[in-house]
């Protein structure tokens, strides 16, 4: 049986186990129909031209992974940013783990989607926000159909989250390949502020496939900083879809650090529904071997006087493959839009590949839109400059790669996170950069 057939038939059983009065009972029913009609994306779909899921869809996944009985903090401590105080929403094989988590309802709600979907006091928020901007297409619909748990973050009007929130999805599947489908909802009301760090981490020796969907709503003047750490095992694949709706004067930044995994596909879509909005999309990709990272972004400029800033840097070694497909749409009404997009890549080895495709669709006539894409090797004269100062070639290469990625790191607002990412990058490059950043 194909994975698609298995999913469709499993959904009948799944639906039976659910409360028919749930606010999203029908939403799930419709979603599985969409998935059934569309199936998994293939390379024939324009948006998936350079990324094939075939190799990972062949595996026999357990759709409802069995949970490992226990997970000690000391075993997973290294996956936390633990030198700062944070709220933690931790999932193990798709199920909330209270022991590893630290949630709150004090002024802000930092808890789980499962509570939000089942408790009546959240019904209003779910009715207004759940599955409202997600596009009806195969993988997001599949997630909606099976959505059970994930992070639920609600920051009321005028509140500032007193500490960053970490969301970690662990996969432990000790016996079989696991399919995980977390679903996050982040709502920041007017004048509120929140910082979020998210990570998907396999602890399993078997393959994992995570199909994650996150909806983000930023009301007027809300500020959201969202950091995604992708540094997973070699047989862990991820499709991470993030749909963001912004209202007037809000600022939403998403930094994606793609440092490892099997196939990683990021769908990051921004919809600007107000004026003077700023959307910031940044990414560092540093991969080797046969790893594959695909950034598929969309910024939809709908109203006037808004900005978007995209800066994606990639370093590809061995036969790693990178994809950048950045679409910017500027509607006729969106005059005075300032949209900036940049995608710079370094190919370390001859067999490494990058497919970079900017797409600009501009219907307004008074806008500033710029885009640039570069593909190259490390600058030999820069390397010589560093070596001539006594810095060994290996260190010099690392320093140049760090310098190359730095424009993306410089906008990370949490210093401890910045340091962690810098260290991860230094480790990937295989050297210790001999100074504090």
């Amino acid at each position: 049986m194909s994975l698609k057939d298995k999913l469709v038939s499993s959904h009948i059983v799944f639906q039976d186990s659910l409360d028919p009065d749930s606010p999203i009972y029908d939403v799930r029913g419709n979603a599985i129909k969409t998935f059934e009609a569309e199936g998994f994306p293939t390379k024939k779909d324009e948006a998936w031209k350079y990324t094939s899921l075939n190799s990972i869809l062949k595996k026999d996944y357990n759709i409802f992974p069995t949970k490992k009985s226990s997970l000690d903090f000391k075993d997973v401590e290294r996956y936390f940013i633990n030198d700062i105080d944070t709220y933690n929403i931790i999932f193990v094989d798709g199920v909330f783990n209270a022991h590893l988590s630290s949630t709150t309802h004090d002024g802000i709600d930092v808890c789980t989607m499962n509570s939000a979907l089942t408790k009546s006091k959240y019904k209003q928020v779910i009715d207004v926000y759940f599955n409202k901007i997600v596009k009806e297409e195969s993988l997001t619909s599949l997630n909606t159909a099976f959505a059970r748990d994930g992070a639920y973050i609600y920051i009321p009007k005028g509140k500032v989250a007193d500490k960053p929130i970490q969301i970690i999805h662990f996969a432990t599947g000790s016996k079989e390949a696991a399919l995980l489908q977390p679903r996050n909802l982040i709502v920041a009301e007017e004048n509120s502020e929140v910082q979020i760090i998210e990570r998907h981490q396999s602890l399993s020796d078997n393959a994992t496939f995570t199909n994650s969907v996150t909806e983000v709503y930023a009301a007027k003047r809300a500020i959201i900083d969202y950091y995604k750490i992708q540094n997973d095992k070699l047989d862990a694949s991820l499709v991470d879809t993030t749909e963001i709706e912004q209202h007037g004067e809000s600022i939403v930044s998403v930094h994606t650090f793609s440092l490892g995994g099997n196939i990683t596909r990021n769908n990051l879509n921004y919809y600007q529904k107000g004026e003077r909005i700023d959307s910031i999309l940044k990414g560092v990709t540093l991969i080797e071997g046969k790893q594959h990272v695909d950034h598929n972004t969309l910024v939809h400029h709908i109203e006037p006087n808004c900005e978007s800033h995209q800066d994606y840097k990639g370093i590809f070694a061995d036969s790693a493959i990178g994809v950048f497909n950045g679409k910017v749409v500027v509607e006729k009404e969106a005059q005075k839009t300032n949209a900036y997009q940049s995608n710079n890549n370094i190919l370390i080895d001859d067999k490494a590949t990058i497919n970079s495709k900017p797409q600009l669709e501009i219907f307004a006539d008074d806008v500033r839109c710029s885009h640039g894409c570069t593909i190259g090797q490390l600058d030999e004269s820069a390397l010589f400059y560093l070596q001539s100062r006594g810095i060994a070639k290996k260190e010099a290469r690392a320093l140049l790669m760090y310098a190359f990625a730095n424009t993306v790191l410089s906008s990370v607002k949490i210093p401890q996170l910045k340091q962690r990412i810098t260290k991860l990058i230094a480790k990937k490059i295989g050297v210790s950069i001999g100074f504090e950043i």
């Binding site: 600058d379 030999e380 004269s381 820069a382 010589f384 400059y385 560093l386 070596q387 001539s388 100062r389 006594g390 810095i391 060994a392 070639k393 260190e395 010099a396 320093l399 140049l400 760090y402 310098a403 990625a405 730095n406 424009t407 790191l409 410089s410 950069i433 001999g434 100074f435």
Partner: protein, 249 residues
Amino acid sequence: MLTVKDLHAGIEEKDILKGINLEIKAGEVHAIMGPNGSGKSTLSSVIAGKEEYEVTDGDIFLNGESILEMDPEERAHEGVFLSFQYPVEIPGVTVTNFIKTAINQTRKAKGLEDMPASDMLKMIREKSELLEIDRKFLSRSLNVGFSGGEKKRNEIFQMAMLEPKLAILDETDSGLDIDALRIVANGVNKLRSEDNAVLVITHYQRLLDYIVPDVVHVLMDGKIVKTGGKELAHELEEKGYDWLKEELV
């Protein structure tokens, strides 16, 4: 200090240096002058070890030891320093962090511990004062957005910090106004000693008014065609290079 013997070098089958001989003793300042395209920058790059260039014949000795087989960083560890005509910009790495890394890498190569932070700071303070460098400048990203003068001053600041045995100044005067030129030259002069040597590579005589050479060589078409005292530089300034060409024919 530096001995260059019948050096032939080129890039991609093209011969640029066609038999250079040069002997620089400790405590001396030599200048190499010559028209554009004569091979001046190639010579400095080859001495510093740039890989693009292939040495086809001859040898380069530093204190009696051949350095041809050494990587650029090994040559730096042995005391070769090249002040670049076009210093490279490195975003995200501050001047201070860069020089710390360079010094500690050199110490590491010599089997020494990292320089204690307090010593490093003291040295940075002294040397930046020498070159009239503002403190704020030191925390900026290396060469990013620097003016021509700032870049060159920063090169000489690095030279001051690394205390090389042989400093090669490649067109250090290009892009400098007269004040910056004076500061840079003054810095170089203060760093001169009986134990080190300086090789100034320049198109014009201007810099040599400030860094006075003991010996002046004229490089044309990959060969040293004339060697003389500091007065040779003045002669070249007055007459240009053409009379030499004629003399050679």
